[in-house]
């Protein structure tokens, strides 16, 4: 199995484990209010969703504007399983929601013949079609009035750790994929499908694989989301805003990187929280401006900006030596 070996030095896990442990301990220290804890939980969920989107949009270069379909499906399948007369335990329901979303995303297989903007446009179609389909399928989604989940006291608090666990898992997976030969093949497919085939990469298989994994993780995220808000409606879960959100988070943070979608998700959640409260009309406009600026000036988003700053600092430090040289 050496051909799948990932180039991940074990010590690189140390800071990551420390950060996750600190975050896990955070709600136990009494300083954090339920409001703040909920905000962080939402951020964890968005991190998972953005990173999973990034496997498609960043590693494979297939920018999807339809991931809300998997988010919504995962959410509603999980909700229905928990509302059943023999209710499934929440984690099982989330997992099955994710599997359903993964299988559903396989339906987009024919679209993988398209690349670039053509693929993106097709995903808009599929996303919107799913929204309409599930809005009219009232037995499943409750139609416009949505679905309320059974009240589980303490679930909202516990979800902090579940969401953290999911985010930690997805960050690890993203990192390992990026550094493994699988990630190399995905980047090769992104650069040139035909050239990838010429070196033996089965592009069709890997695109399907990544699409299913990405869809499944976004589906699981949808399930946790449903439990967290204990009320979901199709217009929101399958909404185009949600698909755009996954794109925005990755692009703001830095598409194709691991750190990028994490940063992007945090910024997205915070901005949304503060702007939605005071200027509900403004926040989408602000995202639009941010997106244009990033695409124009720093295609790697916040990550690229950070790298650029680091380079500038290093150059300034080195500058005196340069002056002294003959």
């Amino acid at each position: 199995m050496r051909r799948w070996a990932a180039d991940v030095p074990f010590w690189s896990a140390v800071p990551f484990v420390i950060v996750v442990a600190a975050l896990a301990a955070l709600p136990l220290s009494l300083r954090i209010s339920p409001y703040e804890r909920n905000l962080v939980t939402v951020a964890f969920l968005m991190i998972s969703g953005a990173l999973a989107w990034n496997w498609m949009g960043g590693y494979l270069g297939q920018v999807s504007f339809g991931h809300a379909a998997m988010f919504g499906l995962g959410g509603f399948v999980a909700a229905r399983l928990m509302l059943h007369e023999n209710p499934a335990p929440a984690p099982i329901a989330w997992l099955l929601g994710g599997i359903a979303a993964g299988v559903f995303s396989l339906g987009a297989h024919p679209m993988l013949r398209l690349r670039g903007p053509y693929f993106s446009i097709a995903t808009i179609g599929v996303g919107e079609a799913s929204r309409l389909l599930f809005t009219y399928w009232e037995e499943f989604t409750g139609g416009a009035s949505g679905v309320s989940l059974p009240i589980d006291i303490g679930m909202k608090a516990r979800l902090y750790w579940w969401a953290l666990g999911l985010a930690a898992l997805v960050v690890t997976a993203s990192f390992v994929i990026r550094r493994s030969t699988l990630g190399l093949q995905l980047l090769a497919i992104k650069a040139d499908v035909d050239a990838a085939a010429d070196v033996g990469v089965n592009a069709t298989f890997y695109q399907d694989l990544v699409m299913v994994l990405s869809g499944a993780v976004v589906g699981i995220t949808g399930g946790l989301w449903a439990s967290f808000f204990s009320f979901i409606e199709p217009a929101d879960m399958f909404g185009f805003d949600r698909s755009i959100g996954f794109v925005l988070m990755s692009v703001i943070g830095g598409v194709g990187t691991v750190l990028g979608p994490v940063l992007g998700a945090v910024v997205f959640v915070l901005l949304r929280q503060f702007l939605l409260a005071s200027y509900p009309q403004l926040y989408l406009g602000l995202y639009g401006i941010l997106l244009i600026l990033i695409i124009l000036f720093e295609p790697l988003g916040l990550t690229g900006l950070g790298l650029r700053l680091a380079r500038a600092v290093r150059r300034r430090r080195r500058a005196p030596g340069v002056v002294a040289a003959p």
Partner: protein
């Protein structure tokens, strides 16, 4: 019964509408051989390569590898069987470093030993003389450098048959000589059999054990380089009718 050749085409044809781009071509490549494929522009050389490599399907005829039919298989499966091609226009993955480009090649292919893809990539980069550029992006390489990279990526697959589409064309004469020497080393030191399309006549004449000449999709001549160069049909294809009588040879 004689052993079947490593790679062979049997009356392979490709028609694009009324155009017969490749018309019933028979080729054979023996183990350890360098076969040159020459012909005027539009003769169907690259189409023939695409047919063998699985990028396009033949209209009729078949491609055989050690006697087994392989035509109709997708490109990535032919690569795994050991048939690897390079392109006229080099196509490195611009978002990957030189070493990563080669590593992608080292993941699949016909190799069966223990080396990890990265170790194999490092070894191949050393062989083609790009080891020092391993961590740079392909965009920083010269054209000759990118051609070496293309060779390295193909070699990392450990091919049985390497199909080179104008690897030497387009670089300066000094680099051309170095690339020709590298191609010879690929055959001599790594035992790879080679089919090469080339317009640079001194290179193809000196490297090839045999040469096949295509014109308008048909194979019009085949043989040792000197025989082919003296063949009136070949002279005519390159220089036009009448040139053969005047005693000209292809440039």
């Amino acid at each position: 019964m004689t052993k079947p050749p490593l790679l062979a085409t049997r009356a392979v044809s490709k028609h694009f509408g009324g155009l017969k781009a490749v018309d019933e071509v028979d080729l054979e490549l023996a183990q350890g051989e360098i076969l040159g494929v020459i012909g005027p522009n539009g003769a169907g050389k690259t189409t023939l390569f695409s047919l063998i490599a699985g990028s396009i399907q033949p209209t009729s005829g078949e491609v055989l590898m050690r006697g087994h039919e392989v035509s109709g298989r997708p490109a990535y499966r032919l690569v795994r069987a050991g048939v690897v091609r390079t392109h006229q226009l080099v196509r490195p993955f611009p978002n990957l470093t030189v070493a990563e480009n080669v590593t992608v090649g080292a993941i699949h292919g016909a190799w069966r030993d223990e080396a990890s893809p990265r170790a194999r990539a490092a070894e191949v980069l050393e062989f083609v003389g790009l080891a020092e550029r391993a961590n740079e992006l392909p965009g920083t390489l010269t054209l000759a450098g990118r051609k070496r990279l293309e060779l390295a990526r193909a070699l990392a697959i450990v091919p049985l048959v390497l199909m080179l589409d104008e690897v030497i064309a387009g670089v300066n004469p000094v680099e051309a000589m170095k690339l020709a020497a590298l191609i010879r080393r690929i055959r001599d030191e790594r035992g790879v059999s080679i089919v090469m399309i080339e317009h640079v006549m001194p290179a193809v004449m000196s490297l090839s054990d045999r040469i096949a000449v295509l014109d308008h999709g048909k194979k019009i001549a085949e043989g040792k380089p000197a025989e082919v160069a003296a063949n009136p049909l070949v002279v005519e294809a390159y220089l036009g009718k009448g040139a053969a009588e005047e005693g000209a040879t292809p440039a």
